[in-house]
Amino acid sequence: MKRSVAIIQFPGVNCEYETARAASEAGLEARIVRWNSDPQLLRGFDGYILPGGFSYEDRVRAGAIAACDDIVDVIRQEANKGKPVVGICNGAQVLVESGLVPSRDPGSVELALAPNRGMGRLGYYCDWVFVKVSCEPERCVITYDLDPGEILPIPIAHAQGRFTSSIPGLFDKLEDAAQIVLKYCTPDGDVPGGFPEDPNGSEHFAAAICNPEGNVVALMPHPERSAWLRQVPADLKGKWSQRRRELRGKWQELEGKGPGMGVFRSMRAYIEASLS
């Protein structure tokens, strides 16, 4: 039986279709569910993805209004049962604003996704960056199908992507508990030397952070935009771009797995493992 995920459509999100396409490609049954849908319908899914976009126009702060939506309470209850929840970009901002990540003190908001630093001016920044898997595969829902230390080229597109906190020492604790699961890095996997390898000034170069249980992950880069090899630019550094260059004239292979597909495959593997 195919495992199902709900792609939550808050008003203003805009990545729900390609996210659903990527999840389907990974073998999940993906369905887009509107914000005002029946909570009972939502409980029937095996997992949840909060896609990117501008939910509620980023009013107050990115993700802040959606975090108060009734539907998030349902997702919180299902997450507490162990179901996986992945928030991508704006979805990550919702998970942070709702206190679902990092959830060291459940229910309280411990993190923020603050305005980017490094570009030299405020505003939206779009680019391809490299992230490194900084945990063991079983640690969380998005790394199940990835190797520790694996380097993934992946796009970012955000104005507020800097993971930070007013709680002293929080990031050291997150680091110790292996809750920082993806980190920005150089194309060779080293610590970034500065902008643009570190695109936003995130603490500990965090690109994705999970809750202590690992079933809820806030992920700033967009895996659905590097889910197919076709999407990876040919002229970046690293083996993925090299592979893309080698496949000139072979579209069927270019429609194959890209670096971001690992996130969706991981989610499927995680669901299958937890339900078996």
């Binding site: 459509q9 008003p11 203003g12 999100v13 805009n14 990545c15 279709y17 390609e18 396409r21 990527a22 509107r34 005002n36 990117g52 976009g53 501008f54 509620y56 126009e57 570009m119 030299g120 001016r121 505003g123 939206y124 920044y125 779009c126 680019d127 391809w128 796009p155 597109a157 967009h222 659905e224 935009r225 889910a227 197919w228 076709r230 999407q231 630019p233 040919a234 002229d235 970046l236 550094k237 260059r245 496949l247 000139r248 004239g249 072979k250 579209w251 069927q252 270019l254 429609e255």
Partner: protein, 775 residues
């Protein structure tokens, strides 16, 4: 009724007091047509509909005379909100491209963020209302000189326009698929923001912007969906039809306000609506609300279907109380659409927008409202608070008015002779790389989301054209927008023709077959005979090039399927912009995987220069950098030669021979080589060693920097014979000029000299310059 009186001076004062821009003669003509005095609302309606922006009164005849608009692939040419072109049948589905191209110049000069944002907001509505999904937007930007006397305001406008574009398109979730930017003091007081939206649909999904024939059989309603009507953008079309006053504050109310968030929700609700329309088999009409607001949309939908309309202005959802009838009828409030649906289906429409997608809950005052009915006789009435405020034949509103404008050719300046003594080639090469017209534009487009929707194959800067793939198919859609004011300033005919050549060449570089073009024609005041002549010349150039650039084995002109004319881009001091024809080309590739980035891929590969054109440095970026824009001979326009070269390159790329392909345009051969070495993302590390011979007696400056066309191709040695064969068969010149090398240097040698540049210096000059100039 407004009594217009019989004394012109008094009538002029009256019109002024009412805020009507119609001339006295036009007002009298309206009275004559109506057979009575007009109401205030009627005056406002004609004020908009007879404006240059809406009526194309100065341009219509010229466009009709010179531009090819038909072709076997054209489903819908200019006339409705967007043009529709057949893309092809893939996996059993017949796909069409829906394209729209417009300017938003005047508003962007007054309020850059709002002006540019509503530019994107307006152009995407034109495509959505045809039943298509928007898969990309492009923008052609023309700014003033950031080093000139107006530097301060120029930089402010650049920042605002860029912010407006990303704020709207990123939030709406439509990827940026290209654009270009030029800087010239001619745009100091009038920036240009030209926007393009590209949509994808299946052929049977296309919806017309008119009341359907079915309204003869059953009753139809008009429904307005979206933002509550307010006073924003009142007189926007009129604003775009005159010279900006120096006190631009007066015009601020005519600029619309954007809301991409509401639009995003509307788009989802429309998706649901259209699915239900298709499944229930009914026919609807659907139109964007743009210039002229409700009055324009309703009358055009009714008139083009051969119907009339009764509108009840009390039923329009408004943002504030106490609005006057004319304001409700004519305001250009953004984020609204108009539907004509069977009355039996109206409740379903209201349910989708007001309940399922909760418009009133997520945006104050937004909703769907039934505002009127289709009537079978061709009459337009509007009622407000128990008064009849409009009552006239609907054709009167939509009927084209035309006027003949004087056109006088300018006396062409003889080009100055270029004294090339003392020009250091190395200094020139690095200087040109770091000049604002040539340097990397990443500093601007890094704010634009090019990835959303997940369809990207080649993004802005990666190749000469952007390519997106239709998911699950090998089919790619290529697009490029171009127009070089340096050329059109000297020769508008050549500028128009080369805008077509350049956009088509760019699409060819990725192996795509050009299908159609659109144009946006930006000029000064058409009442000035010189400006009018510039306009006619540019249109003639576009027409000639479009007719000449036929596809291989096809005898059809490249059709112009949509476009827009923007006049009065002129400051109060009388300074007009350079003639600025802007052309976009759209193409299709059966297999996107042959499309390559412009970056050199392998050391030791061969570099070919195909189809090099003739001519001098006139209009080049090099002469602009040198500060001698009026010297030099212009490139020679050989459209037949261009056609052959373009079709040759398409063949070579499609057969998979090109590792990289780039055309020779801005900055000439040297800049094209440098860009291929630097690489699309700036990571390129392969060098190049080339030897240039040129024509007998040709100067090295001409060889390196003339913008006379041609294509650079990187290929493997084993591809050479096949490429030679193709070139011979098409009659295209092919010159082997050198090889890529593993060392990161640019080596160019010629008879009597050479130039060796370290790639690190080349990259540094090219990458940081724009930030320095406009930050």
């Amino acid at each position: 009724m407004i009594d217009l009186g019989r004394e012109p001076e008094k009538t002029r004062n009256l019109l002024g007091q009412l805020g009507i821009a119609l001339s006295v003669d036009e007002a009298y003509r309206l009275r004559e047509l109506l057979g009575r005095n007009p109401t205030l609302t009627e005056l406002h309606i004609f004020d908009t509909m007879w404006s240059e922006h809406c009526s194309y009164r100065s341009s219509r005849k010229v466009l009709k005379r010179y531009l090819p608009m038909e072709g076997s692939r054209v489903i819908l040419g200019p006339g409705e909100d967007a043009g529709v072109v057949r893309l092809g049948e893939f996996e059993g589905k017949r796909y069409v491209l829906v394209v729209a191209h417009e300017s938003h110049n005047h508003p962007s000069q007054i309020l850059p963020v709002e002006g540019a944002a509503t530019g994107i907001g307006g152009i995407v509505r034109d495509v959505y209302c045809m039943g298509a999904d928007v898969i990309g937007v492009m923008d052609a930007l023309r700014f003033g000189d950031p080093f000139g006397p107006m530097a301060e305001s120029v930089k402010e406008i650049i920042e605002g326009v860029v912010n407006g574009i990303w704020q709207y398109s990123n939030a709406l979730g439509v990827p940026n698929v290209g654009g270009d930017v030029f800087f010239d003091s001619g745009y100091d007081e009038n920036c240009l923001v030209n926007v393009i939206a590209i949509g994808l649909a299946q052929e049977d999904e296309i919806i017309r912007s008119r009341v359907p024939d079915e309204a003869r059989i059953e009753p139809y309603d008009f429904i307005i969906i979206g933002k509550p009507t307010d006073l924003s953008g009142l007189g926007g079309a009129r604003l775009a039809s005159r010279i900006l006053d120096s006190e631009k504050r007066e015009s601020i109310g005519a600029v619309q306000l954007h809301d991409p968030f509401l639009k995003r929700v509307l788009v989802e609700a429309i998706r649901k609506l259209l699915a239900e329309v298709r499944s229930s088999g009914i026919t609807i009409g659907f139109k964007d609300l743009g210039a002229g607001g409700i009055s324009c949309a309703v009358s055009e939908m009714a008139a083009s279907g051969g119907f009339g309309a009764d509108v009840d202005l009390d039923s329009v959802h408004v943002a504030i109380g106490g609005m006057e009838a004319y304001a409700i009828a004519c305001s250009e409030t953004q984020e609204r659409f108009c539907l004509a649906v069977p009355s039996s289906f109206s409740d379903e429409v209201l349910k989708i927008f007001n309940e399922e997608f909760e418009l009133p809950h997520i945006y104050r005052g937004a909703r769907a409202s039934i505002i009127g009915r289709v009537r079978s006789d061709p009459k337009l009435t509007m009622r407000y608070k128990n008064d009849i405020v409009v009552d006239l034949p609907v054709k009167l509103v939509t009927e084209a008015i035309e006027c003949d404008r004087q056109a006088t050719p300018r006396k062409r300046q003889e080009p100055e002779t270029l004294d090339s003594r003392g020009i250091d080639i190395r200094e020139a090469a690095l200087g040109l790389l770091s000049s604002i017209s040539i340097c990397s534009k990443h500093y601007i487009f890094r704010h634009y989301d090019c990835e959303v929707k997940g369809m990207a194959v080649l993004r802005p800067g990666e190749a000469d054209a952007c390519v997106v793939a239709i998911p699950g198919t090998p089919v790619g859609i290529a697009s490029s927008v171009d127009g070089n004011p340096r050329i059109s300033k000297i020769d508008p005919y050549l500028g128009g023709a080369l805008a077509v050549v350049e956009s088509v060449s760019n699409v060819a570089c990725v192996g795509a077959q050009p299908l159609a073009i659109t144009d946006c024609l930006n000029f000064g005041n058409p009442e000035d005979p010189y400006v009018m002549n510039d306009f006619i010349e540019a249109v003639r150039g576009i027409g000639d090039a479009a007719r000449a650039l036929k596809a291989q084995g096809c005898d059809e002109a490249l059709p112009v399927v949509s476009g827009n004319v923007s006049f009065y881009n002129e400051s109060a001091s009388g300074k007009a912009i350079p003639p600025s024809p802007v052309v976009a080309c759209y193409g299709v590739i059966d297999d996107y995987s042959v499309a390559q980035s412009l970056t050199f891929k392998e050391p030791g590969s061969e570099i070919l220069l195909l189809g090099r054109g003739q001519g001098g440095l006139g209009g080049s970026a090099f002469l602009a950098w040198l500060g001698k824009p009026n010297s030099g001979e212009l490139p020679v326009l050989d459209l037949e030669g261009r056609r052959r070269a373009i079709n040759t390159v398409i063949q070579i790329v499609r057969l998979g021979h090109a590792l990289a392909c780039h055309d020779v345009s801005d900055g000439g051969l040297f800049i094209s080589l440098a860009e291929m070495a630097i690489g699309a993302w700036g990571y390129g590390n392969l060098g190049v060693s080339v030897k240039l011979d040129g024509e007998a007696g040709e100067s090295i400056l001409n060889l390196l920097f003339a913008e006379n066309g041609g294509f650079l191709i990187e290929c493997r040695s084993k591809s050479l014979p096949e490429i030679e064969r193709i070139c011979r068969s098409t009659g295209t010149t092919s010159l082997w000029i050198g090889k890529t090398i593993p060392d990161s240097v640019l080596e160019v040698s010629w008879h009597g000299g050479n130039l060796v540049l370290d790639l690190t210096d080349v990259r540094a000059a090219w990458q940081g310059a724009l930030q320095e100039a406009i930050k």
